[in-house]
Symmetry: C2
Subunit: 335 residues, 2 copies
């Protein structure tokens, strides 16, 4: 690939798309041109990208001619339609939707964890679900020290994962409560202001939501542990940015906390909080690049157990940043 590629962003005007633009510039991602694609509604909108002003183009069948890498921040339905068109046009696609993640020929990459799984022949690369990315960064550090027997995770997910309209909905519902007005509810199945909703995405026959099943399936694929015992409960909380997770890990053999803590302190992508009383929160993680890991405790309810609390900005490491890192990895390995 051209070491100064033409880069496209599909879905450039959404929350994740805008983060992608900002991260490409901030990280000085080498590119000869940046092209922005969105729906017809946004066509003609001018977006400032550093010193440049870029006019948004309508995403269409012919969008990808001459584009080398496309970052997709689109819905699963749009990715299903447009990623193959990008491939036909010779571009490499890095897709943030769920559509290709579990396809057996598509690698699902978190660069700190499974960079090795990315091959030069890959024309489509999938970016994991926001709640999976932070989890696998932690689990990868653990599994390198001791095999995992079982993982139980409960998430505290912010509304930004559901887009700009969802941010507005939390804001407007909260204001409506202060002003004693009726609440308008569109983006969430229930009231989100001052309430936690134990449903993200739709339900499967098993009773788990798709979000919960994604955490299970995607973690197994990224970690290369297809039989990993893992269960998830995914909950939306009335917070604007960042996802927190309460993670319980049962290990096959003893892992001294000092060994784990020192591995966490030097792990790429992780910011480790060693003191019990200084812990990560959504407030501390929002806007940052790392997965913040804290409250590491020895769970005495099993012979070798751990309780850990992790937080990460779901729009950045959970979405846009990881996609940009995949693009960087691709260039580094194959340009």
């Amino acid at each position: 690939m051209n070491p100064e590629p033409v880069v496209g962003i599909a879905g450039a005007t959404g929350l994740v798309g805008r983060e992608m633009i900002s991260l490409l510039l901030q990280r000085e991602f080498p590119h000869s041109e940046l092209r922005l694609f969105a729906s017809a509604d946004s066509q003609g909108e001018v977006i400032e990208a550093g010193s440049e002003e870029i006019t948004v183009e309508e995403l269409g069948d012919e969008s990808f001619n001459g584009v080398d890498i496309v970052l997709f921040a689109t819905s699963a339905a749009l990715s299903e339609k447009f990623v193959p068109l990008a491939s036909d046009a010779g571009a490499v696609s890095i897709d943030n939707s769920s559509h290709f993640r579990m396809h057996k020929d598509v690698p699902l990459i978190v660069p700190e964890v499974n960079a090795h799984a990315l091959k030069s022949s890959d024309k489509v690369v999938a970016n994991p679900n926001c709640s999976t990315v932070e989890l696998v960064l932690l689990l990868d550090v653990i599994q390198k020290l001791s095999p995992m027997k079982r993982v139980v995770v409960t998430t505290f997910q912010s509304v930004s994962g559901a887009g700009q309209d969802a941010l507005d909905e939390l804001w407007n519902q909260t204001l409506a409560i202060f002003n004693q007005q009726d609440l308008i509810q569109k983006n969430f199945p229930q009231q989100i202001a001052f309430n936690c909703i134990p449903q993200i995405d739709t339900f499967l026959e098993s009773g788990y939501t798709k979000e919960e099943q994604k955490i299970v399936n995607e973690s197994r694929k990224i970690l290369g542990l297809p039989k990993l015992s893992i269960t998830a409960t995914a909950v939306r909380v009335p917070v604007f940015h960042s996802h927190a997770e309460s993670v319980n890990v049962e290990l096959e053999r003893e892992l001294p906390l000092e060994t784990l803590n020192s591995a966490l302190a030097s792990a790429p992508g992780i910011e480790f909080f060693p003191a019990f009383d200084i812990y990560p929160m959504q407030m501390t993680a929002a806007g940052g690049d790392s997965v913040q890991v804290g409250r590491v405790r020895r769970d005495l309810s099993v012979p070798h157990g751990l309780d850990v609390w992790i937080v990460s900005d779901n729009l950045r490491k959970g979405a846009a940043l990881n996609a940009v890192q995949i693009a960087e990895l691709y260039l580094k390995k194959f340009a």
Copy 2:
């Protein structure tokens, strides 16, 4: 005991104390007189209790003369001081603080679970921690069907558990964010508006908080399972009322979901939500008496596992209601 006792409430002007007054009246708790005690600040305040107006008395060494039952909604320090004085005056104390809960001679009672543990000779009875009460109602139903191997719980606790000032703090911090003013923080160790705080109470040397350790210790005592394998992560969420909990239970042997669901549907104190897509939330539980149980799933990460979501109003079943129920049980058994 007199079947129409003189009832006292210590800490009557706080959130839990006020719920106690309202529940005693609503449930037509038999009493010949209701006396309200609080700190000197509230002395002389007149509280409407049904058709009566009751003047608040200052809680003092002589308060309990002639009182038969005292419900304590006071701090651990005040309970430590005043409960023995109530005993000396011949009153039965039902204490909502943590002070006596783990004393080996004090029963810790959730009437639906361990009514049998209350004896006529008990002059002090402890009311469990709010996050423990709802959990043991669920676990008791499960353990009667199949022995539990291990429990992993993560809580989503509302601010009302920390009192009226804490409710005001969430309200005022949220308003300050809307008005772009500085946030005032007094009741919580970190900002609570639009943020989750993985700390409730102070830290122990193990890295767990006292709240987390209470869930472990108190559940074991109430269930009569001193070796129950259980671990907890307790998190404060920006919600006014009710505590939610994500509960994972590993069982010793197979328990068909139909068996569990039908037991939950008929369990006293539990409101069961059988459909996946109609689940309990803090919104649905606030102001109610029951422990709402939903999202019961078969966790496939272990041979016999369950994921469950429970919610209850922490001021009612989690505190005031359970205390009143203990008083009712005492009268029923021993009056």
